[in-house]
Amino acid sequence: MPERLEQPLPTWRRLYENGTVRKTVLLLVLALMWEGYARVLDNPLLFPTLTATVSALLASTRSGELPRAIAYTLTLLLEGYVLGLVCAALLTALASVSKIGADLLEMLTSMFNPLPSIALLPLALIWFGLGNGSVIFVLVHAVLWSVALNTYAGFRALSPTLRMVGQNYGLSSVGFITKILIPGAFPGILTGLKVGWAFAWRTLIAAELVFGVSSGSGGIGWFIFEHKNQLLIPEVFAGLLTVILFGLFVEHVIFRTIEERTVRRWGMQV
């Protein structure tokens, strides 16, 4: 009988090696524990069941209350995020053309990065009043430093060889920046965008909890806060679940897709 050089693993072993299967099973177990514990506790004011949370989620989606809150939050998020990116681009450009600019970026980043954006909210309220302006201000602060620092690090990490190759092509300076520098620094830029997004998302929900309402409409944070005041705890849980799901979606679907189509495909992971 010839020696068998390869043989299939048993079925359970193959399933165990599959990360998606493992995580799905874990998720199911956690969901069952939630449901079981809530049923035993039998106190919907403290800890509603999973089924109650899901039906609250569906109900507030159907009534349009939750979609409105999501849309409100996303609009604010985008405004703050884009404004933060513009500021970061300016700061990075300044840092790229002069040593003083680079020192300034480094100094400002090390000063302000450890400062949680939400700590600026009281001050922002005095400066910009009870409105979206204050929220956007803290959002810009959340996005700006990490994006500027990582983008600048990306530019610095671009190899001198690649710079010389770019200069060899006879590109204009605008062409050199858009066709060599920015794609070359893209791994750093993407890291900055991811970290900036994570800060912005957490900051925004927190800011909305403090005050997130203007002219009668509020975001997801406000949705959570308001339902807590009305003791509608399943809705509070539904709000939290929405925050989690949206965060997962952005991090694992949007950014993962961008990563796979760019830096992974190019072999440029940092």
């Binding site: 190899s159 010389m164 190759v165 060899n168 092509y169 006879g170 070359g184 190019w266 072999g267 440029m268």
Partner: protein
């Protein structure tokens, strides 16, 4: 005379001092020469190449291409570097070549694509046209870099130890392929190396530089093989003696 260096002195700056890399280096390269600059590390040979490319400006002397002073980098003097990361990682092999041709607005896209395929064929990499650089071996990356540089059809092809980071077998093969490409195109090559053996094989003229700072020792002709002279001394032995006689004296 295609390319001329006249009394070129080059300096570079570190954090606390100015270092003279070469002093008063002169040479001239004719069309279709395979001109090799050979010297030990520290003789400033790469710096000379970079100044011909226009990346480094001489503090004294001039570099002339077709009689005009070189002031900045340009597509008429393309460099093939030693480093494997000289290809743009976000472009495929074929895109790397076509981009080099269209970037400065020098060629329309269709013409660039045809020329890129032509040169890719010359380095026998048609099969990898749509691969990204990080999936290629070191030798293949250097081949793409050479194809890209040749596709730009420069006045002079500048090669900065392009095979130094390759394994010995691949290096020998690449040297042969380069000579074959030269036979096909008669392109002018300025080649920098610290390997006497490589200089003899690649060059028809070899410029010997001494180190600290780089100054011209001699210029030697090579027929491509390590011949013995009338006294029975091999060319490589003579070059070695010329390069290092001061150190031994």
């Amino acid at each position: 005379m295609l390319l001329q260096a006249i009394g070129v002195t080059l300096q570079y700056r570190t954090a606390d001092r100015v270092v003279t890399a070469t002093r008063d280096v002169s040479f001239s390269v004719d069309r279709s020469d395979r001109f090799v600059i050979l010297g030990p590390s520290g003789c400033g040979k790469s710096t000379i190449l970079k100044s011909v490319a226009g990346f480094v400006t001489p503090v004294a002397g001039r570099i002339l291409l077709n009689g005009a002073t070189v002031t900045r980098p340009g597509p008429d003097r393309v460099v093939v570097f030693q480093e494997f990361d000289q290809l743009l990682p976000w472009k495929t092999v074929i895109q790397n070549i076509t981009f080099a041709l269209t970037a400065g607005g020098r060629l329309p896209a269709s013409e660039a694509a045809a020329r890129a395929r032509h040169y890719l064929e010359k380095v026998k990499l048609t099969a990898s046209a749509d691969s990204f650089p990080h999936t290629l071996s070191g030798g293949m990356k250097q081949r793409v870099a050479i194809a890209r540089a040749m596709a730009m059809e420069p006045q002079v092809l500048l090669m900065d130890e392009p095979f130094a980071a390759l394994d010995a077998l691949t290096r020998t093969q690449m040297q042969e392929e380069l000579l074959q490409l030269w036979t096909d195109t008669k392109i002018t090559i300025l080649f920098v190396t610290h390997s006497i053996e490589e200089a003899i094989r690649i060059g028809n003229r070899i410029l010997l530089l001494s180190a600290h700072p780089g100054t011209v020792k001699a210029e030697i002709h090579s027929a491509g093989i390590d011949e013995a002279d009338v006294n029975g001394r091999l060319l490589s032995a003579r070059i070695h003696a010329q390069l290092f006689e001061d150190a031994n004296a």
